[in-house]
């Protein structure tokens, strides 16, 4: 079948891109380390500057793995929400979940100024979970998914306003710290913390794979899906839970990262042509990982002393994609 071979091509290309970008993340950085040395470090046979070993194994390796999982998590989370709400502009930030995480961290950093690593992560998780529970609670009462979307947006605004108040009263130092956290950062997860992040991300990703079947049914709308045997309310909660875990974990460990959740599902659809989640979900996962790895590499500008914030780079990749999609609306089948 013609469609089949196209899909296989996409899989192969993305897989190759992923491998390439992963290696790129290990080989390229602010400090110039020769390729040969990096390979030797990975093999364990390197006998040279110890700092290089530390850089590759303790900084670049966890960073790259974090970016991979974070990108995949955000992209899949965005896809789940776009299908659930039948809205191509939905993303992990739209339900206010990442705003909740933001608020949790703001409270801890600015109000309580209790700034350990653990407290930041917990605060982000708790904040995201609280918002998620609110949304799920409303999900039982509200029949229409569009209404739920609006509730989520409003909750997000509420959280933002509280954050503004906190910022307003905080010292410049604290605000600065908080702003830096808000720029997004894959480098904050060290090797020993990494398993935690990977567990949550992998859990969410695995859960989403089990949702492929009902997601496809939901493309037909909730009435058809119910007729096909989908327990719509339960599936809705499952989707929200998955997306919540993925978003909360990523925001907790990496700060809020914009655009990947919104743009990557569209990239995947453009590559595949189909909205069938059986292919769309895995491709979204791979594409998200690739985009995150690419953005991480782009934070280091070659030849310059300085680095760029992550959240400044993600829109540079993401915004053109969205614009391209909107301009070509007529030609793209999944909008019709």
């Amino acid at each position: 079948m013609k469609g089949r071979s196209k899909h296989i091509t996409v899989y192969i290309c993305l897989g190759a891109a992923l491998l390439l970008l992963f290696c790129g993340g290990l080989l390229y950085g602010a400090v110039r380390i020769p390729i040969r040395s990096v390979l030797e470090i990975l093999a364990g046979t390197f006998e040279g500057r110890q700092t290089w070993v530390q850089i590759v194994m303790q900084s670049r390796l966890p960073q790259t793995i974090t970016a991979l999982f974070a990108g995949a998590s955000l992209a899949v989370s965005g896809l789940l929400l776009q299908t659930l709400f039948k809205n191509p502009l939905a993303g992990p930030s739209i339900l206010g979940i990442s705003d909740g995480a933001y608020l949790g961290v703001a409270l801890v950093m600015i109000y309580f100024s209790f700034n350990t690593y653990l407290s930041t992560i917990l605060a982000a998780f708790v904040g995201a979970s609280v918002v998620l529970l609110i949304i799920i609670g409303f999900s039982r009462k509200v029949r229409n998914s569009v209404m739920l979307l609006i509730i989520g947006i409003m909750v997000g605004y509420l959280a933002s306003s509280i954050i503004s108040i906190l910022n307003y009263h905080a010292s410049p130092d604290k605000v600065h710290q908080f702003v830096l956290w808000g720029m997004g950062d894959f480098t904050g997860v060290s090797m020993e913390k990494l398993p935690w992040f990977v567990v949550f991300a992998a859990g969410g990703l695995l859960g989403s794979i089990f949702l492929i079947k009902p997601l496809n049914a939901l493309l037909l709308g909730e009435s058809y899906a119910a007729n096909l045997g989908v327990r719509v309310k339960r599936v809705r909660i499952a989707i929200l839970l998955c997306t919540g875990i993925l978003t909360a974990a990523t925001t907790a460990f990496c700060g809020p990262i914009s655009f990947i959740g919104l743009a990557v599902p569209h990239i995947a659809r453009l590559l595949l042509g189909t909205s069938n989640h059986k292919q769309l979900l895995p491709i979204t996962l791979l594409a998200g990982a690739c985009v995150a790895l690419l953005c991480n590499m782009l934070t280091v500008v070659p030849g310059s002393n300085s680095i760029l914030p992550l959240n400044a780079i993600t829109p540079i990749i993401g915004a053109p994609v969205i614009i391209c999609v909107i301009v070509n609306r007529r030609n793209i089948q999944y909008f019709n």
Partner: protein
Amino acid sequence: MALLCSCNGGSGVTAETECFKADSVYYAKGFEISRFDDWIIVNVRNPWDTLKTLRRYVLIDKNKPLPDSLPEGIIIRTPVEKAVFYTSVHASMVVQMGRIDAIKGICEIQYVTDSLILERIADGRIADIGLATAPNIEKIIELDAELIIASPYENSGYGAAEKLGIPIVEAADYMENHPLGRTEWGRFYALLFGEGARADSIFFATRDRYNHLKNLAGKSEKRPRVLLERKYGASWIIPAGGSYIGTIHSDAGADYIFSDFKGSESVHQTFESVLDRAHDADLWLFKYDTKHEYTYDILKDEYQPYSNFRPFKERNIYICHTTKTTYYDDITLHPDRLLEDLISIYHPEILSGYSPRYYVKMK
């Protein structure tokens, strides 16, 4: 602003008819003092575009009558008796010159560390004006303030305060790169309160002490390699060599590792760059202001690769809590004290028996 001063259309200063003498300003680059017969003119330079003047202040003695032709600028009748301060540091400076009675209101009193001021806040003699970004205008009016001293920010005004008709002194001391430069602004503020001579002598004493310490430190042969601050988010913010921090650490006799970063703007570096360059530093100093005290365990927990740095391994890290100590006040008022602290770390043999005020060894 121009609205506030009573501009008489006078064209300002002519060199021949009025004799003036310019005060020598030694370290501060942000202001100039010119004395005339009937008034003193202080030009505050625009810190973001040093060729332009930000403000010009014309200080005229209260006891003398107002001259007929006034120069352009914001007119301030001195000595000021009721002033409102947006920052506690400036208020502390005024306390130092013995004019605490002139302080009627301060913003953000939670940052005040001076006990004399705190006493007066407690018994109501000094009012709490609220946030510096949104001060209580009605309170300022109620206090019948004659002057406001505030820190300027690029491209931002002062909101409703500008419409009060009260002169606002834009205190750009925090933009100075040299530690003594900041302190020297006290000489300008002192003129507002009529304590010029006193402030000068305090300044000269501080300056002399500072330079004395600097010379002592300079005599020492070894210069320890020093790493500063920490990683926040994706970047390690490195102060430049020409910045305030870079200067004071170098003056204390340290070899600041990133002193080759010119200028005064901080640079965002990746962790790996800093590790690569500074992994074998002799000492590591950083500031923090969390509720809990930092320890090696907490630092390692925050980011495990910190433990690769030599100062971590050899337990040579010094930390300073910025709000529990008088750090922020003292870097403006008493940079010599900070210098002393640093010298005691870098060259302990010079100052024996000195107990540190700001930086303590991390546990």
